[in-house]
């Protein structure tokens, strides 16, 4: 059996990043993700890596941009308000087609908000955040083990598709400890012939840039980028199904909300309600096919979210509004109890969404 160690979710991200070959971390502290920076500060100097606490979030994301352009596996991490500050850099990184890993351990918003767990940056992560036509791969861990495995996966995907992979976690998963193992980690490496590594006077110089003043060139770039995004959508959607085989109702939840929802689904099953759970693991690409398939057999959905209802829009899109979608939500740092979710399931069972 693989050796298990107890780690906080935030520490698991940092350790996994190092194992994935990340040797450059740039960040700025903010609760509830500071353990990532603390872990990097301790470990990076010992393995010849760089830990740098920048003067601001804006500076740190631009350092990520620079290191990514040089072909390094590089990351930054922050929490909601800090990610807003990084949004400009995220857009530049997307416009330059370089790979990076960005972690958002979400807290309640908007504004400075609070420091308790939240999922209210779903729109920001999956629909943009920065300006322009671009996408990020968004991975939503629901356990400490997934904090590690999706970090490694995120680096792999970022390099493969030359885009940003974002880990969209929340304060609970970041702060909690669970046993994890690193033995199954599959680390992929990719050639980066486009990287700015110095020509040695042996090749034409590379350029990494997001400025295209000729509109036809910029349009062509965007078209090309979206061809790549299409491949990501076709190949990389990930989700988990729980008790869906004979389900007549489907709960949809990601991250910490899915853990609570699982308890509620089990409790509802004990009452004889045929309900299952679909847990999106990638929020972009959203597991549309799984939802569309479920829509053919269930009578409705319940979206469980730590927000005012953001993912619910993607559920409606994926199912083309074929079936009703109810919302069970808390926000601002509050988390629904399994009983609250159970109550929503009971209502849905009666046709109240």
């Amino acid at each position: 059996m693989a050796e298990r160690v107890l780690m906080k979710g935030n520490e698991a991200i940092a350790e996994a990043a190092i194992r994935a070959g990340c040797r450059h971390y740039f960040g700025y502290p903010i609760t509830p993700q500071t353990e990532i920076a603390a872990y990097m500060a301790k470990k990076m100097p010992k393995i010849g890596g760089v830990f740098l606490q920048a003067e601001s979030e804006v500076a740190s994301i631009n350092m990520v941009y620079g290191a990514a352009a040089a072909g390094m596996r590089v990351m930054t991490s922050s929490s909601s308000p800090g990610i807003s500050l990084k949004a400009e850099g995220l857009s530049y990184i997307a416009g330059s087609d370089v790979p990076a890993l960005v972690v958002n351990v979400q807290r309640g918003g908007p504004g400075l908000g609070g420091i308790q767990p939240s999922q209210s940056d779903y729109f920001q992560a999956t629909k943009g955040g920065g300006h322009g036509d671009y996408r990020m791969i968004v991975l939503a861990p629901a356990s400490v083990q997934e904090m590690a495995s999706l970090t490694i996966k995120g680096f792999n995907l970022a390099d493969k598709y030359l885009m940003t992979a974002m880990i969209l976690a929340d304060g609970t998963i970041g702060q909690m400890m669970e046993p994890i193992s690193f033995e199954d980690a599959e680390i992929e490496t990719y050639e980066k012939p486009w990287a700015l590594t110095g020509t040695n006077c042996e090749r034409k110089h590379n350029v990494v840039n997001s400025l295209y003043l000729k509109p036809d060139e910029l349009e062509a770039k965007n078209f090309e980028r979206y061809e790549r995004y299409k491949i990501v959508e076709q190949n990389e959607a990930m989700w988990e199904e729980y008790m869906m085989e004979d389900a007549e109702l489907c709960v949809v939840a990601f991250g910490i909300a899915s853990r609570v929802a699982k308890n509620a689904v089990a409790a509802a099953r004990a009452e004889g309600i045929k309900v299952g759970l679909i847990r999106p693991i990638t929020l972009w690409p959203f597991p549309k096919d799984a939802l569309a398939f479920a829509a053919e057999k269930v009578k409705g959905f319940v979206s469980v979210e730590l927000s005012m209802g953001q993912m619910i829009e993607d559920i409606r899109l994926a199912t083309q509004c074929n079936k009703p979608v109810g919302l069970c939500n808390r926000c601002g740092g509050m988390i629904p109890s399994p009983d609250e979710v159970l109550e929503s399931i009971r209502k849905a069972q009666k046709g109240e969404f």
């Binding site: 298990r4 107890l6 609760t31 509830p32 420091i115 308790q116 304060g171 609970t172 702060q175 909690m176 400890m177 669970e178 046993p179 910490i256 853990r259 609570v260 699982k262 308890n263 089990a266 988390i335 109890s337 399994p338 009983d339």
Partner: protein
């Protein structure tokens, strides 16, 4: 074993999180499924602190405890806040050196242990938490006291070796305390 949900609550500085960590590691070495969730934020800076530990032989669903099987209360506000959330048939451990109040519920098992006073008397003033943990393990055969030495050795860093014996002493004090 059945899933055991343990809620530990008290002031910041009482070792609430450490006590939880100890129980989580105990579960780890016994190959159980484990989750440990601390309160974080303002509480850590001197207010109240609490910690949710779940031990189970099946995968842990929600790590957030709303109805604990076991409550450790190390101050009065924590006891008042959580006493009614404990499941019927559950256990409540009360540090009776700090809490005068008695639990009025009759459908739970209550253990009063003057842990903070015992710690002071034995010159291990910061280890009231571990005295209660020792008492808890002794009174929960399915979690078992056996193997605690190994867990202490895992948790206490080598450069703080002095704390090793003190933690073991605290656990033993709790184990041997008779209500």
């Amino acid at each position: 074993m059945k899933t055991t949900q343990i809620l530990i609550a008290g002031f910041g500085g009482q070792g609430i999180l450490f006590a939880g960590k100890f129980l989580a590691y105990k579960g780890l070495v016994e190959d159980l499924q484990v989750s440990w969730l601390p309160s974080y934020g303002p509480e850590m800076r001197g207010g109240t602190a609490n910690c949710n530990v779940i031990l189970s032989d099946t995968p842990v669903g929600s790590p957030i405890i709303t109805q604990p099987d076991v409550l450790i209360a190390m101050n009065l506000p924590s006891l008042q806040k959580y006493v009614d959330t404990v499941v019927p048939g559950g256990q409540i451990y009360v540090d009776s050196a700090l809490i005068d109040a008695k639990v009025e519920r009759t459908d739970v098992e209550v253990f009063y242990i003057p842990a903070t006073q015992m710690a002071k008397d034995n010159n291990i003033a910061s280890l009231a938490n571990m005295i209660i943990v020792g008492h808890l393990l002794e009174n929960n055969p399915h979690l078992s006291f056996a193997g605690t030495d190994e867990v202490v050795e895992k948790l206490v860093p080598a450069k703080k070796a002095a704390l090793l014996e003190l933690n073991k002493k605290a656990l033993a004090l709790g184990k041997n305390y008779k209500n």
